[in-house]
Subunit: 370 residues, 2 copies
């Protein structure tokens, strides 16, 4: 959907005209009160559920959760997936043409925040004729957007489902983002963010960024269970099985990480990576309240479901509990589940019976009952 | 000290002639039974204690622990610090000339392992006239060398002090090493490890490697306490204090990490970084015993002190406990302390009264009593 009215961003910059890529599933009912907005995390898109015709491998990133008869049942709910501004999957972003110059934005694309994304999403809902959401939901960075919805548009959200998220990033979270950004920015093919003009891509940097990210998405336990110290291939010539090389792949975990990095560098835009990690860094609703999250969340009017995963060390359960506490301080209605899962932060994307059951139960018993 | 006899390495390669840089503190007694060998970790050297004349900032890396009247009292013990093969601080390594070619080894320096380092250290002790060590000690990778001493030369070690260490790396540990190595190897200035021939240094890769390493040395808690979400400088022009930039430094933690990376890339050799991280990856005494650490440690004859730090997530207390259990299975004499410290893995280098007291007490009550 194309928007012609300029959007004033949190930084003060203005984005004059933009488009948002979105998908919908199910049918908006006559009362327009069954809409569920799904916000995506770092490297996902508006393609939340379903499979594109003739592309059996094109499953939406939350296809295990959302669809007919699923936890978020599209026979009952009208689900909207929207790609965020600054992304590289269809919404206006650094790869698009800057109307002021006639060439690609590249590094000149304005810095966008969680609040800016929510403001843009609200305009999409206006255009779709949706006044109030039955629910807004998301995991990780998507959960931050869901939380921000309840602050920016308290009356437009009945329920917020915030999964594996946090009220802000810790210093360690920012540190990992910063290393990833430095890997990209110091790649000689980055060219100050205008690699497009030079016909190259900062693939080296993107690979490193993705490898770092991937380590933080998984738990130590699941890495040990999946890869442990297994070698990629036993070399019969040496009893130890080692090749004794610093550059060749020796352990399976190395092969896995390199593969993840290669894949990512094929499809993800480096400038988008910088923008999205910065949006993560900046999000901090308590900031304007001197760090007092309880005061920050006093504006909320929604009811909440929070969920976290025991082995998530990127956004640990303790971070979700901070949000729960601040909401309870404000006497908000909050359900909270801490799910014992081995998969680390990635668990929010995976099929787990207790997790899927929790979401189903909340949508059936709470969201579906006005 | 120069060694002319070739050293056969674990890989099967042979290093024909090499030198080891070492320092000693205190005096070897007439019985030659008061020697303590200190093994270093990733980026340290033989300069363990003391200060070089006229260089007040040249403190040895364990100067808080080792010296006259300190926990390891050099009035009583003869302490030896030795730089490992493949390093860049004086012992033969990639920056030295390969006699076979007449130019620097660079990436052709043979892969060295913890076992190779211990074998080279043993030759140094032979030359110094030391048959049996009162103690061998080290933290992190240095602890792995101490453990390996008790396996390679069981009769030459009375006590082994193994601090903040592990019986092998986990998949996550290897993963972090691998990302760091990829950052170095894919730096266009790496030139396959022969950057010396091109008159350049792969500084970008080294910076990223060090930033990643540094995150894993600290705990989330100490990072939050030290930096939290503090900004580098408040910008009055925007109420949030943010600059809204993806490339400028915004948070103090970013400034700190970049500084650490810059400093490291000034003095550390990239090929050495590859070699040392690989030595970490490879160390796994249980490997030849089908993963049975108890069986692997049956050869030990020493008495042991193990110590770990509560917030160390790189080499967690659980990893030290694995070693303790395997030693107890073999009815070895083991003391073990889990120290509640906020500093993460770095704690093994820091001044902490309980930690320093523990080491002092062990050396006074056990090591000093034959």
């Amino acid at each position: 959907m194309r928007f012609d009215a300029p959007l004033t961003l949190q930084s003060g910059a203005s984005l004059g005209g933009y488009q948002l890529a979105y998908e919908t599933y199910g049918t908006l009912n006559a009362a327009c009160d069954n809409a569920v907005l799904v916000c995506h995390a770092l490297n996902a898109s508006h393609h939340v559920a379903g499979v594109y015709e003739g592309q059996p491998k094109s499953e939406g990133w939350w296809n295990n959760m959302i669809g007919p008869g699923k936890s978020v049942d599209t026979n009952r709910f009208f689900v909207i997936g929207v790609n965020n501004l600054g992304s590289c999957f269809g919404s206006t972003g650094p790869k698009d043409v800057n109307p002021a110059t006639g060439s690609a934005w590249g590094a000149d694309f304005p810095v966008v925040t969680v609040e800016d994304w929510v403001a843009a999403q609200a305009r999409l809902l206006d255009a779709l004729g949706i006044g109030q959401l039955a629910a807004v939901m998301g995991g990780s960075l998507g959960g931050m957007q869901a939380l921000s919805w309840t602050l920016q548009f308290p009356e437009r959200v009945r329920h917020a489902v915030v999964i594996a998220s946090a009220p802000n990033l810790t210093a360690e979270n920012i540190a990992f983002n910063e290393v990833a950004r430095r890997a990209i920015v110091t790649d000689p093919d980055f060219h100050g963010g205008h690699y497009g003009r030079h016909g190259v891509l900062p693939r080296r940097g993107l690979r490193i960024a993705r490898m770092i990210g991937h380590i933080t998405y998984l738990s130590d336990d699941v890495m040990n269970a999946k890869f442990g110290r297994a070698l990629r291939e036993a070399v019969a010539s040496h009893a130890s099985g080692y090749k004794f090389s610093t550059q060749d792949i020796e352990f399976q975990i190395e092969s896995y990480l390199r593969h993840q990095g290669d894949k990512f560098s094929d499809y993800f835009d480096a400038n988008t990576y910088l923008l999205i990690t910065r949006a993560l860094d900046y999000f901090d609703p308590a900031r304007a309240f001197g760090g007092d999250l309880t005061a920050a969340l006093a504006r909320t009017r929604a009811r909440f479901l929070l969920a976290s995963f025991s082995t998530d060390w990127r956004f640990s359960p303790a971070r979700s509990r901070e949000i729960v506490k601040a909401l309870l301080d404000n006497r908000r209605e909050v359900s909270y589940a801490e799910i014992d899962a081995p998969h680390g932060h990635d668990a929010f994307l995976l099929d787990d019976a207790r997790y899927m059951g929790l979401i189903r139960s909340y949508f059936e018993s709470k969201v579906a009952q006005p």
